[in-house]
Symmetry: C2
Subunit: 564 residues, 2 copies
């Protein structure tokens, strides 16, 4: 049976290729038929990715079934993507593009669209999507087609991943280590961004001095690189932690940090990209403060929006109808993203905080079936999006048209992220240990240093804008760093864990004494939880006597029942 299964799947995957080859070879036709042709081509291209994901899933299953553990599914997806990229790049015959005729017209100032009369039919065009490589006739159309709009990654594939991360934060251990996690995420990521950026700039200067790089690579580009590469994604590491039941505090620290530092890195990157001094590429105090203000506004605005929506959903309780409940949950979470984007904030950051709030409050109000449904739905979306991004990364290494691989830059970037990560973890851990009773041991610090993998967020941020040469070099470098960290550091997690003797699997004593945790816990337990969920004591017993009418009005019947 198993052999039959393999034969069938392979033959089906082969069949998926037929329309692609067919579409690529058929003659181009104008007008309506061209639209249909393009639709068929799109379908054929999507099939390539579905074939990739199918292969990945089947291999993961085989690995899990046989208990192989030396490579994670994301690493696997990347390998298959790489192979597919090689096939697309070197295996397809390059068809010469159709002859191109250039029309000239001057742009009316302020107009954002162009109206053109083509042989008596009128077309209107938005002035977006400028053509690069205008005079490069050898560019293969087939390669161009499998390149997605970069915004797809940021607006469609990343939100479910980030939301799921927020939604699956292990709440208890997360809040117990809240102070340290916030320190690593906020302070640590900022430090890492600037240290990485500065070290990287040193190598850029070196490359420029030896003539391996032209002049258009500025300090802001290096800082931007520092920001995007500071978003860690230890998905491989955490998967292994989960299987081996590694220390829960270390898990909470790593997971919490990696989830929150995405928010900081995304906000930092968009603030740095918006840095526009009065003189090009000079230091401008006003612009710097503008950047810092922007950073704070976006971060706090997105946080507030996510938290408010999360709390909103806590109030909408549609018991007995799990389908409606799940649909509402899904729509409200999505609306957080859209609302933040529409208000020029960062949707991904809002979605992250929305997920955290919902895991903490709304989840308690859902019926048992809705809990399962939402968990499973977002788990599936996360799985598909993550594997899609990683297999696309593999593909992009060979099919992306504008790679700039510069050895000095790449080695410099690797050193820079190591220095940046070290300057995040070690000094901060030292200061945190001064205040923590439950110290973060050196072995834990080494493990956190080692677990600084880069993944989907760094990639999505890097591919978002690849117009200048500096951005292209940053994109290529980021891609290589993701490959390196996922394969080398991800693959080395199990040996590293045994080498550092972190495999106890036993939860520590409940040493919940950090002052930040205690303050938060009391406030949350006495006021927020009773208000937003049915858990905890009724508000009537926690609020002072003067507020009793208000407390009575806000306490639900179920809360009393839980009490009794």
């Amino acid at each position: 049976m198993a052999l039959l299964q393999v034969v069938l799947v392979v033959s089906y995957l082969t069949v998926m290729w037929i329309p692609r080859t067919w579409a690529a070879q058929s003659v181009k036709v104008p007008g309506e038929q061209a639209a249909e042709q393009s639709h068929r081509q799109d379908s054929a291209d999507l099939l390539v990715f579905i074939a990739l994901l199918t292969l990945t899933i089947l291999t993961i299953w085989l690995f899990k079934h046989r208990r192989f553990r030396f490579i994670h599914e994301t690493g696997l997806a990347m390998i298959y993507g790489l192979l597919m990229g090689v096939i697309l790049r070197y295996g397809l015959t390059q068809t010469p593009p159709a002859p191109r005729v250039l029309y000239n017209c001057s742009l009316v100032n302020g107009s954002e669209s162009l109206l053109v009369n083509v042989s008596g039919r009128y077309f209107e065009y938005k002035l977006q999507g400028e053509v690069e490589n205008l005079h490069d006739p050898g560019r293969s159309e087939a390669l161009q087609k499998v390149t997605f709009d970069p915004e797809v990654f940021f607006n469609i594939l990343l939100p479910p991943i980030i939301f799921y991360a927020g939604y699956s934060l292990k709440r208890r251990h997360f809040f117990r280590n809240l102070g340290s996690i916030l320190a690593y995420a906020f302070l640590g990521t900022t430090v890492s961004c600037f240290v990485t950026g500065s070290v990287f700039y040193g190598f850029v200067c070196l490359a420029r001095a030896v003539g391996a790089l032209n002049e258009n690579f500025h300090f802001t580009d290096c800082l931007f690189f520092g920001a995007i590469i500071s978003a860690t994604d230890p998905v491989t590491v955490l998967a292994i932690f989960n299987e081996l039941r590694v220390d829960v505090d270390l898990y909470a620290l790593l997971f919490g940090e990696s989830v929150l530092n995405d928010a900081i890195a995304i906000t930092l990157a968009s603030s740095i990209a918006a840095y526009s001094p009065s003189m090009q590429n000079t230091f401008d105090t006003a612009a710097v403060f503008n950047c810092i203000g922007r950073f704070l506004v976006i971060l706090s605005g997105s946080f507030a929006m996510g938290a408010v929506t999360g709390i909103m959903t806590a109030f909408t309780k549609l018991h007995d109808f799990p389908l409606l409940e799940t649909a509402l949950f899904f729509l409200l979470s999505w609306s957080t993203f859209l609302l933040a984007e529409a208000c020029a904030l960062t949707g991904i950051v809002a979605v992250l905080f929305c997920g955290i709030t919902q895991a903490h409050y709304t989840y308690n109000n859902l019926s048992a079936e809705s809990r399962d449904r939402t968990k499973q739905l977002f788990e599936l979306l996360n799985f598909l999006a993550e594997n899609f991004i990683f297999s696309y990364m593999g593909l992009a290494l060979f099919t992306f048209q504008k790679h700039i691989f510069n050895p000095i830059i790449i080695i410099g970037a690797l050193l820079a992220i190591l220095v940046g990560r070290a300057s995040n973890i070690y000094p901060l851990s030292f200061f945190l240990n001064l205040g923590r009773r439950n110290k973060i041991s050196f072995n834990f610090q080494h493990m956190m240093m080692f677990a600084g993998l880069r993944g989907a967020v760094a990639f999505a941020l890097a591919i978002r804008d690849t117009e200048t040469e500096a951005q292209q070099a940053i994109f290529s470098t980021t891609l290589l760093l993701v490959f390196f960290t996922v394969w080398v550091m991800g693959g080395g997690t199990t040996p590293m864990l045994s080498w550092l003797h972190i495999r106890d699997g036993v939860s520590r004593t409940k040493n919940e004494s950090a002052w930040l945790f205690r303050m938060w816990y009391i406030f949350d337990h006495n006021y927020l939880k009773p208000l937003l969920t049915h858990a905890g004591p009724p508000l009537t017993s926690t609020l002072p006597h003067c507020c009793e009418p208000l407390a009575r009005c806000l306490t639900s019947l179920q809360a009393y029942e839980v009490r009794n």
Copy 2:
């Protein structure tokens, strides 16, 4: 608590409007900022639909909670869509559009894209999306924005609905009535298409004679209308059937017919649209046979592709890992759609047969958790897509730019669909009853006649192409017919059921004696089920002795276990 909930939801929905108003009023800017502006506007527009769906879900919940049953959720979604359409149409201030300058250039023959030099930057445009109403300066941009690309309905929203319909066919009763269902779906729908088209053409001629219509409304347009309006969608009726536990055979007949006739209607519509006689708008025997051939090829090709993929998935058994299993199931189902589209067949039809096959075979091979997961996932997608389409229909009545409402055409169409439906149900039932032991009573026939609601498929087919005036009139008419049937006939289901005395709720005696059913059952039970699932007797006991080696190789261990 309930009051608080309502206040919060309403305030949140209000907040969703702010970015929309804000975005509409802010100053237009060129270049990169315009792209960001447009992204924000898109987010704000999507928020309108999310707000609509949220409102619908909350109202449905309220209705279900209070056991109201006089309106179905799809009818509700349409009402909210209508209200939103009125607000968008009459409530928004009309901003005068930016001045438009027209550039002229002659099209190089055979070229499918246009390259333009705008002030030194190069843009490439596909020659699609022609501008209509070029000289209509009063057209509101806000209205234009909430109009989606029609292909979205056909390629994104319809597939999950159709797949879910196939996946949730009640298998036992479906196969028991297979012969009748196939007759209604194949013969009935074709008859309905031609009768409706002919009657409708009579009214078109009448309208032309009294001068209420110009000349460009041909018989092929009428046939096209007959095809799209023959796709019935008794979702409202079936929801009520489900709640009242109406006779299972009637349920199976109605549901089976409505699921399968979508396939016929879609294929008919695309074949008629492709009718291109050598002389414009004349009868051309060769072109007619071309059409018929196309119909048969598309239908059988899509059927084969769907069935083959469905059987494929039956072989891929990834037990113990429900996430992987669900993901694979989802990807393979989607790939059916894409594969059919890439091969110039009809993806929706393929997905339908894929769903039916999967419900019959693959479903038995899934682990218990994966069964729940896939059911719930597709249930959610179906729910969201269906409500989105119905609320969009409400919206489109007021925001669509090119409505042509012609009273003679509309009344004619209403009569035509009644005559068409009657000529499908009554003669066929008469002939079927000659062969059936378990007769279809007159009351059942009246109920089937009455349950001929029109919905998402008719709408998606009608909106797909609205270039000519005839197509615009057909679109407007279809929209009104959907409204009429959903509200009047959908709302009248419960009274109709009691009037016709169809409320027994008792399943009939198992009278499984139709010869088609028996033949199918034996073949399926003895050969297909043992091969594709673990159910049924092992192949070793059903195949003749000469095939024993083959049978042994194809029978899984579990099948023997089930046997023992």
